[in-house]
Amino acid sequence: MSARYVWRRLLQVLPVVAGIVTVGFVLVHLAPGDPVLAIAGQDGDAAYYAAMRAKFGLDQPLLTQFATYLGNVIRGDLGTSVAQGRQVTTLIAERLPATLLLTVTALVVSSISGVIIGVFTARRHQQTADTAVSVLLLTTYAAPVFWLGQLSLIVLALWLDLFPVQGMVSARSSATGLSRYIDIGWHLVLPVSVLAAKETAVVARLLRPALVEQLALPYARTARAKGLTTRRIVWVHALRRALLPAVSIVGARVGHLFAGTVIVEIIFGWPGIGRLLLTAIQSRDHPVLLGLFLLIAFSVIIANLITDFVYTLLDPRITYA
């Protein structure tokens, strides 16, 4: 991976970022309704509205407004929440750690389980176990996240009482140190499983055919003839090459995980950005909605960037994509 590649790839990101900010800005300005009425209420007089318009820069030409907006976003200023009167970035920053805990755990869990299941099915290619697991994966892949979440909440938490129903920590618990971490981990099990289920299916379904293909190539036969164990051929030689398609979609998976996290957080009462999104929708809090949109879009861009770098490390033949 040459320095030139890194720079070119970083430069490619700029127009995409600008494009996303433009999409957000255009949407807000196409939307029906006068923003001044939303800020100042219905019953002000014309002079008051004019003053408010001037105060928020709404009397400026559209391009000037766009430049101001772009500048603000670059400086990390996403505006003020209409409903709560606080900085959007502060609101998001308060909720983000809980969401990241959920998302990152699910990403790690689903990557590991996806690889294990992908290897399992590829090694039993065309056997009954392969077919059974494949059907199960396809069903998991088709089931909506909220449905899996609600059903597991009803059955595992409410009926069987195996897991906590809501929240990140037990109510009225003042535990500290290790027992607090155990408590959080216990609350994590169900949301993470629901979130990771579909992603596991995605990874396994991509890995299985790639691994089957690799194991049929001459080098795998040579390795076997040299006396290498199947385990070693699979895990050391074939897996590295077969992983490429699955690695290439990590960036996209971050996008799905955020979407899924929002749903899962609402179901399990997890104190992350999902709740923030829900209240922002209910109170028509557009700056918060737009801020969350930008946050997710930028996260996907950064994840794609990291993915591309990892990809070139795994497969040095790719110098410029």
Binding site: V23, A252, A259, V262, I263, L289, A297
Partner: protein
């Protein structure tokens, strides 16, 4: 022998998928015959669990859930067909033009494709519905004009491999215009791969619509599975059937679309075509 066995199993899965889609299609087409009760009628006792009279129970306002699920198939079908038309139109056009003309057209269109591909569609749809109000039409438009990039890439790759083949050269030598080559010689070649991707993309559209419904952004005047899912959210502890049946309907539709797509992909891969490209690209786009 095992190859043959797998091929048969693959065909079985494909037919199962087609059958699932047929069931939903019939529900959509014959909804008033299958479920004569008006899905918005408030006639039944409230929050009844499933019984012979109400096979899927009733909701908090005394509406028949079975009738709602059957009629909801209509909204889903409209959404599936509408978004498929939009995605297919834009994706195939961009892919063919980009792949055949190449050079700066290709560069420009591929930059645009990259930009659209990173847009988080679920959150974009949330912002649009929150700003412009709920409605099936805007969900179709937003998801339609943001879901085409993987299709454009599949089509472009296919066109790139076809472009240098002899029959295209001979068409050009015979004096065929660019438009004719695109329409008569390149378009038929990209249809199977496009159909497979469209099937997967529509499945994602249905999932996103349902997720929007779950967070309360469905159009309350149109009976849709998303609306039912959103209504069920507040009754998760008391009425499991409200969440169970609409979710199952969505899962069946998505499973059907995936099985059919898998079948087409398997057939294309055996033929040495774009099957693998479709399966990788589509997982890529499934946000």
């Amino acid at each position: 022998m095992p190859r043959q066995a797998e091929r048969n199993a693959g065909r079985g899965a494909q037919w199962l998928g087609a059958a699932l889609l047929l069931v939903i299609g019939v529900c959509a087409f014959l909804a008033p015959l299958i479920a004569p009760t008006d899905p918005f009628a408030l006639d039944a006792p409230v929050l009844q669990s499933p019984s012979p009279a109400f096979p899927m129970g009733t909701d908090d306002l005394g509406r028949d859930v079975f009738s709602a699920v059957v009629h909801g198939a209509r909204a889903s079908s409209v959404m599936a067909l509408g978004s498929a038309a939009l995605i297919g139109l834009v994706g195939i056009a961009v892919g063919i033009v980009s792949g055949y003309l190449g050079r700066w057209v290709d560069d420009g269109l591929m930059r645009l494709t990259e930009l659209v591909q990173v847009l988080p569609r679920f959150f974009l749809a949330i912002v649009v519905v929150a700003l412009f109000g709920p409605g099936l039409d805007r969900i179709i438009v937003v998801l339609g004009i943001t879901s085409w990039p993987p299709l454009a890439r599949i089509v472009r790759a296919e066109v790139l491999s076809m472009r240098s083949q002899e029959y295209i050269d001979s068409a050009r030598a015979l004096g065929a215009r660019t438009g004719r080559i695109l329409w008569y010689h390149l378009l038929p070649g990209v249809v199977p791969g496009a159909a497979a991707y469209l099937s997967l993309a529509v499945a994602q559209v249905l999932l996103i619509e349902a997720s929007l419904g779950f967070i309360g952004l469905s159009d309350p005047t149109v009976m849709s599975w998303g609306l039912l899912v959103g209504n069920a959210r507040d009754f998760i502890r008391s009425a499991w059937w409200l969440a169970m049946f609409p979710g199952a309907a969505i899962a069946i539709a998505v499973l059907g679309l995936n099985l059919v797509a898998d079948g087409v992909v398997a057939r294309l891969t055996r033929r040495g075509g774009s099957g693998v490209a479709v399966s990788t690209r589509s997982s890529h786009s499934a946000a």
